[in-house]
């Protein structure tokens, strides 16, 4: 009988042992992942994604539609017949823009404003405006004012395109204001983590103004005042040379390379230069032709598209010059100035270092 009592006690204490083993500590925290990151760590990703978007799906698809490129095989061939399916641009929206660079910028802006870091906030606003501009160019009405606050807005509404353009301009204005703050107001200004400009805020301000000009010139059908605004932005101090272009310096390895190069290597033979575009370049004796086309092919070794480290500018110098020329003409400004701007654009472009490299590389 005594034995039985002991056994019962044993059973009971076993239960107690069981219940106590319930505190699992940090088993459910992933040791291989970071739980929080500062803007310094996020900025390089945002910059890389901005540039990648310009050259990946966001470059090829419009390029096919605009007949610069033509598909030769597989899905690219289908796109060339305007056979673009419901899901075919999902990746750009989900992983490139909203779930990519725009999310990163929203996080940087939130953290930078909380920590009083105007330079980070400013750069992120420039990148956000650039991405928002891409989104609205592709899709028209897109979410912005209700975006990036999942707790308040689980399903952000789509802003009218007019409001989106207004948001872009105000973002850029805020960015310029942030970037004009004195350096000492930043506890830790961007430096090596800013892969585009290395922390040089003057260049960022110039890029911001250039973007303002671009998004004004899109709206010329809504009134010539927009062309005037574009010109004002350029005159206030936009990009004045190749050295001021916001270009992302892609690398030589496949984990860091230019997306046009990646497409040439990973999906060879599926896309080439459009015959119509090729004919146009030849007919006009365009000096840029040797940089785009090699031996009749888009993907000959000697084109800008097959150099892994060809940098992609978020807005190139020549575009600013073309905008300047167009704005001058529309606002009845000096035709001679407009012509000079266009010539400067073409001449400078051909002098770009990476384009020169193309001419020198073995064919």
């Amino acid at each position: 009988m005594l034995k039985l009592k002991n056994i019962c006690l044993l059973l009971v204490s076993l239960c107690a042992v069981g219940i106590s083993s319930c505190d699992f500590g940090d088993t459910n925290i992933d040791p291989a992942s970071l739980a929080d990151a500062s803007p310094k760590l996020i900025l390089p990703a945002a910059e890389a994604q901005s540039a990648y978007n310009v050259g990946a799906l966001g470059g090829r698809m419009p390029g096919i539609v605009m007949q610069y490129f033509a598909g030769n095989d597989a899905q690219q061939l289908a796109y060339t017949s305007y056979n673009i399916g419901e899901q075919d641009l999902n990746n750009l929206w989900t992983d490139g823009l909203y779930g990519g660079v725009m999310k990163d910028c929203a996080v940087i802006i939130e953290k930078a404003e909380a920590q009083n870091n105007p330079y980070y906030a400013g750069i992120a606003k420039v990148l956000m405006a650039h991405a928002l501009g891409m989104a609205t160019t592709f899709w028209g009405d897109v979410p912005y004012s209700q975006a990036f606050s999942p707790d308040e807005n689980g399903k952000p509404a789509f802003d009218a395109q007019q409001d989106v353009y207004a948001s872009i301009q105000s973002l850029l204005d805020e960015a310029i204001a942030d970037l004009s703050a004195p350096a000492y107001s930043n506890p830790a200004p961007p430096a090596g983590d800013d892969l585009i400009f290395g922390g040089n805020v003057q260049k960022w301000i110039a890029s911001a103004r250039s973007l303002k000009a671009r998004y004004y010139i899109h709206l010329t059908k809504k009134g010539v005042a927009n062309a005037a605004n574009a010109l004002t932005a350029i005159r206030a101090g936009a990009i004045t040379g190749i050295a001021e272009e916001p270009r992302f310096p892609f690398g030589e390895s496949q984990t860091n390379a230019n997306p046009y190069y990646l497409f040439a290597i990973q999906r060879p033979g599926t896309m080439g230069i459009a015959p119509a575009f090729d004919a146009l370049l030849t007919a006009r004796s365009d000096p840029r032709k040797p940089f785009f086309v090699e031996k009749g092919s888009f993907y000959g070794p000697g084109t800008v598209f097959t150099q892994p480290s060809s940098p992609l500018p978020l807005i190139p110098y020549e575009e600013v010059k073309f905008i300047e020329a167009e704005a001058l003409v529309r606002t009845s400004g000096s035709i001679a100035e407009a012509e000079a701007a266009m010539r400067a654009a073409i001449r400078t472009v051909c002098k770009k270092q990476e384009w020169q490299q193309v001419l020198q590389s073995p064919t």
Partner: protein
């Protein structure tokens, strides 16, 4: 909880005291087994007509008080009950003989507890171990096909070492796994599979490491009533395996078996041999142009092969006979259509096993060693498994037993690339044009061994498309994948029996494996011409501890009580280290040191700890009415502290109505039982889902700092970016409010045996509902997140299972038996989440397997034709059907019903067994067919190439009138402007619309045919050496009847993932012929 336990203890105490009062004589004795004289512990000894009773101890001894004229009743499951009069004796030794009729009814249930099948209130099925071995499958999971109702096995392909997808009663979880729990000798073991995606190789699931020859018994536990004791890990059922062990007092029995099988491809898509490589010609629209390999032309829309001839150019690297030119301009030697299927070879499998089993008076042992080596039907593919096992159990005293078991397996192979993979074998093979000889004059293994078949003198590829897709011979040589798994599974067990009715048992088990995977793409491979190497190390450890207290007691003459209380602790952790190097320097050297840029990552795949406490109570009344109550409470680490405890109850009842006085020993209905059960089990969340991290997953699925993506065609960039670390906030939002998901099942069934067991029927109906299923919900990307884990989905499974056993003919020498397993079920996702229409499970952007509210689980979804509300096709002005602007659900991968029908004929020592496996329904997306139609290499695209004047049945979109506009499948001028986009098979995009390629995957196959002869014992009568021998001829997958046009429809692109029904350049399945010999010494 504590108080209830104390109350129970006191009750039992009281009961015993009561019985000790009436004593007259003490009778002692020993109960042994009649067949071999070994001791029988656990035998019930009861004084007839009273409630006095006891149970024999570990050495078979008992001691009971009974009147001089009383009768003692000795009973035990599986043995014939004996009633013996005391007759003034003080010592009564009894020998109990086996009750053959009942022997097969001892089953192993959850937690390793044994029970009489008669007493269970839920559906349970055992699979014969001999049949598992005779199936001659490398993967134990494949061997279960067609052998248990409700169990559905889909193998991913016939490649050596390929995985198999197993489901019991359908799928219940969207993010969680749907595979059942595998338990070996009471220890749950790992059945992981990692890396099975739309491309890559066929990875194994880890049950492939278990040697089927070691299995003594296998039980399938189907519903929550059966598995509640396993808690959170067994929401999808459990497969309980017991391995062989020795027997006490037996001389060592040595068994050696050797089996050989020859494997061949069993089914392949039909290809054309009439048209050459090429495409329509803009300048001469009525004569398509031949364009050879040097142009990298992908299409086979060229001229008729009979319109071409060779020109004898000896310098031409792509064909020894020279270039192909139009007839009349060459040397007169007609062009040849080559057959790419000469690529396949015969595979072989050798399986050798040796085991020794025996026991002394106190110790039993079982030792086995096995080696299986298999080569595939694709040259160079192979898989090898070496396994060793040792099990010992020893009785140290009457009350104390200890045991230990350990097994070591080394498995791995050389695997070939499959699926959506421009380096994939089937992709290169099926897209190949008929005018190109992939073997350059050689076939099969000979071609695979000759570099001049797949490589040009300058080192680039010799393939029909100049290296844009890898030539299959190139792929098997230059895209190697090797894996090497070392796995140790072991357990130690202790058992202490202080009283005859109380046993404490403890079992500690561990399952540890390391999987080293090396794969590479050599320089000039299509998927990465600069070359690539990947080295991956996976380490996984599972630890399981079970502490039980088991009470078996008789309460009165008619009532039996079995109570088990236990505690379980389970810890699981797995991590993968990956190094990927890109840009190789030296060709053919597949090591990381050869790469110009290296990226290294480490990922924790799994980290989980579970603690649980459980209790199980079984009551039996007069061997007629049975009631089983069980409950378990689990605490899991994957949910936050407030939400991580949950309780699973289950109750089941059985009524053997043929035990009633009027129905007993009925000649027609010899056994009848009704069952009902209700149970609730749950599943916890995936690890690490409660907080939001900073980081991403790259294209290979490894966590990285930042992943710069957004393009489905090229790889993303990964951190470090140009020497700078970068992180992004994850697009998956963590959810600290996650709760467990629960499945509640109601089950009704009956088991009936007629005509003295000549006919047996077991019918079960079940209805299962999962609520709060955790799904990764897609949220609008404009919130800054793309997904979040939430409890919100609901899934329903309901179905019927019927098991039928009959012996139509039974004479002394000849017997014919029929066994049928029939199963039909529906598996529907009844609800997802607010605002969520669809959850992607597996597949591609255009065609995928999904969970969609209101649709069957895994429904195939994709692009489709435009139709009006009546379902009629909408046709455009040019006579061609239009494409719908939105995608939709198109096919149901769940079969209408499946059945396994086995006929066994035995005559003396000879036995013939045939297993037919039938499936009706179950759609498969034949993506392969769509692509080979697109490129013009399929037989269909050749047979229908000249179709003219075809009118699609439908209505005109413009005015709703019936369509009358005819079309030409291969347009001629003026419609033909030289574009290759206007052909019937190319105009709907790459691979056509998903809808065009959904096919019915029904099949009837002769899955197993076994003819075995067991040499009669008289031959060996006095031999001291050989004691028995069995010779078997086996056939596997010998016949296949199906309307499916691709490879064997039993195929799955993504292995054992939750998505099913996709075929996109899957590797083919095989049929096998073999022989085996087993000798016992």
């Amino acid at each position: 909880m504590m108080r209830k336990l104390l109350l129970l203890c006191h009750f039992l105490l009281f009961g015993t005291v009561m019985q000790l009062a009436a004593q007259e004589r003490t009778v002692t004795g020993r109960v042994t087994a009649a067949e071999d004289g070994s001791a029988l512990p656990g035998v019930n000894v009861v004084v007839k007509g009273s409630s006095a009773g006891t149970i024999t101890d570990a050495s078979g001894r008992y001691s009971i008080s009974a009147g001089d004229n009383a009768t003692l009743v000795y009973s035990f499951v599986g043995l014939t009950t004996q009633e013996i009069a005391v007759n003034n004796r003080s010592t009564i030794d009894v020998a109990l003989a086996a009750d053959i009729r009942q022997l097969s009814e001892v089953v192993v249930t959850a937690i390793g507890l044994e029970a009489d099948k008669k007493s269970l209130g839920y559906s349970i099925q055992t699979v014969n171990a001999e049949q598992l071995v005779n199936a001659r499958e490398t993967n134990l999971v494949n061997a279960l096909s067609g052998k248990a109702a409700g169990v559905q096995v889909i193998s991913s392909s016939g490649s050596p070492g390929a995985s198999a997808n197993i489901r019991i009663r359908g799928s219940r979880s969207i993010t969680g796994g749907n595979s059942p729990l595998f338990v070996v000798d009471g220890v749950p073991i790992n059945n992981d599979e990692s890396g099975n995606e739309v491309g890559g190789v066929d990875q194994s699931n880890r049950m492939i490491d278990i040697n089927p020859n070691d299995v003594a018994s296998l039980t399938v536990l189907k519903g929550p009533a059966a598995t509640a004791l396993y808690g959170v890990r067994a929401a999808n059922g459990a497969i309980v395996i017991t391995t062989k062990s020795g027997k006490l007092n037996t001389k060592p029995v040595i068994t050696y078996s050797s089996a050989f099988t020859l494997d061949q491809v069993n089914k392949l898509p039909e290809l054309q041999s009439r048209y050459a490589q090429g495409r329509p010609n803009a300048s001469n629209p009525n004569a398509p142009t031949y364009r050879g390999p040097a142009t990298a032309e992908g299409f086979s829309w060229g001229p008729l092969i009979s319109d071409l001839e060779f020109n004898g150019n000896a310098e031409y690297p792509y064909d020894k006979n020279g270039n192909l030119v139009p007839v009349g301009t060459g040397n007169g030697r007609p062009a040849v259509a080559y057959d790419p299927y000469t690529f396949f070879v015969n595979g072989t499998t050798f399986d050798n096993n040796l085991s020794i089993a025996g026991g002394s008076e106190n110790t039993t042992y079982f030792v086995s060693a096995g080696r299986l080596s298999q080569t595939g039907v694709v040259p160079t593919a192979d898989f090898t498994r070496n396994s060793f096992r040792a099990t010992i159990e020893s009785r140290f005293s009457e009350k104390f037993t200890a045991g230990a078991s350990a097994s070591y397996t080394n498995s791995g192979g050389y695997r070939v690339q499959k699926g959506s993979n421009i380096s994939g074998v089937m992709l290169g093979l099926l897209r190949n044009t008929p005018t190109f000889d992939i073997g350059n004059g050689k076939e099969g293994q000979e071609a695979a061994d000759s570099p001049d078949a797949y490589q040009l003198p300058d080192g680039t590829q010799r393939s029909y498309r100049a290296g844009i897709y890898d030539s299959p011979y190139w792929a098997v040589n230059k895209n190697p994948f090797r894996d090497n798994v070392n796995r140790v599974i072991g357990n130690i067990s202790l058992s202490y029996r202080p009283l005859s009715w109380l046993t404490f048992s403890y079992k500690l088990g561990a399952d540890h494996y390391t999987d080293r995977r090396n794969s590479a793409l050599d320089i000039n491979s299509a998927a990465n011409p600069t070359g690539q190497v990947q080295q991956q190390d996976i380490n996984s450890t599972d630890l399981n501890s079970d502490l039980l207290a088991i009470i078996n007691r008789r309460l009165g003459e008619h009532l039996t009580l079995d109570l088990t209380l236990g505690h379980n602790y389970f810890a699981q952790s797995a991590a993968t280290n990956t190094a990927i190097g890109r840009g190789l320097g030296a060709p053919g050297f597949y090591d990381i040191s050869n790469a110009s840029s290296v990226q290294a990552t480490r990922q924790f795949d799994r980290r989980r700890k579970i603690a649980g406490a459980f209790g199980d109570l079984k009551l039996g009344y007069r061997e007629m009415l049975f009631l089983n109550l069980s409950g378990r409470n689990d605490w899991t680490s994957t949910l936050s502290k407030g939400n991580n405890s949950f309780f699973y109850p289950a109750v089941s009842a059985g009524f053997v109505f043929t035990e009633l006085a009027g129905l007993k020993d009925n000649a027609i209905l010899s056994y009848g039982k009704l069952r009902a059960s209700w149970g609730r089990v749950g599943n916890d969340a995936p690890a690490f889902s409660t907080i939001t991290y900073y980081g991403s997953i790259d294209a290979e699925g490894n966590p990285v700092g930042a992943a710069i993506g957004g393009d489905g065609f090229i790889d993303p960039l990964v951190s470090p970016l140009l020497g700078v670390s970068a992180f992004e906030r994850s697009t998956t939002r963590g959810n600290a409010q996650l709760k467990p998901e629960f499945t509640t099942t109601v089950e009704f069934g009956g088991e009936f045996r007629f005509l003295r067991d000549r006919l047996g029927v077991d019918v079960t109906y079940y209805n299962s509902k999962t609520t709060d299923a955790i799904i990764e919900v897609d949220v609008p990307a404009s919130t800054g997140f793309t997904s979040e884990f939430r409890n919100s989905a609901e899934i329903e499974n309901k179905g019927w299972e019927v098991v039928l056993n009959a012996s139509p003919v039974k004479t002394t020498n000849f017997e014919w038996g029929i066994d049928v397993n029939f199963n039909t079920f529906t598996n529907t996702v009844t609800r997802l989440a607010e605002g969520v229409d669809r959850v992607f499970l597996a597949g591609f952007t255009g065609s995928s397997s999904n969970a969609i509210a209101g649709q069957p689980f895994g429904v195939i979804y994709g692009t489709r034709y435009d139709r009006n509300d009546e379902g009629q096709l909408l046709i455009g002005a040019d006579g061609w059907p239009l494409i719908a602007s939105t995608d939709g659900p198109l096919g149901n991968p769940i079969p209408d019903w499946t059945a396994g029908v086995r006929n066994t004929f035995s005559f003396k020592g000879l036995s013939l067994s045939l297993l037919f496996d039938i499936r009706r329904g179950g759609d498969v997306w034949n993506g392969t067919q769509g692509i080979i139609n697109y490129f013009g290499t399929s037989k269909l695209s050749a047979d229908q190439r000249d179709v003219k004047g075809y009118v699609f049945e439908g209505v005109r979109e413009s005015d709703g009138q019936t369509n009358t506009t005819p079309v030409e499948f291969y347009p001629s001028a003026p419609l033909n402007n030289g574009s290759v986009n206007l052909i019937r098979w190319t105009r709907y995009g790459f691979g056509g619309l998903t809808e065009e390629n959904i096919q019915d995957g029904s099949w009837t196959r002769l899955r197993e045919a076994t003819l075995s002869y067991t040499l009669p014992g008289s031959i060996f009568g006095n031999s001291k050496f050989v004691k028995g021998a069995t010779f078997t001829l086996t056939g596997r997958n010998l016949l296949l009847f199906t309307d499916y046009t691709g490879v064997d429809p039993e195929t799955n692109l993504t292995g054992s993932s939750n998505g099913v029904g996709l075929d996109y350049f899957n590797m083919p399945n095989t049929r096998s012929y073999g022989a085996a010999l087993r000798v016992t010494f």
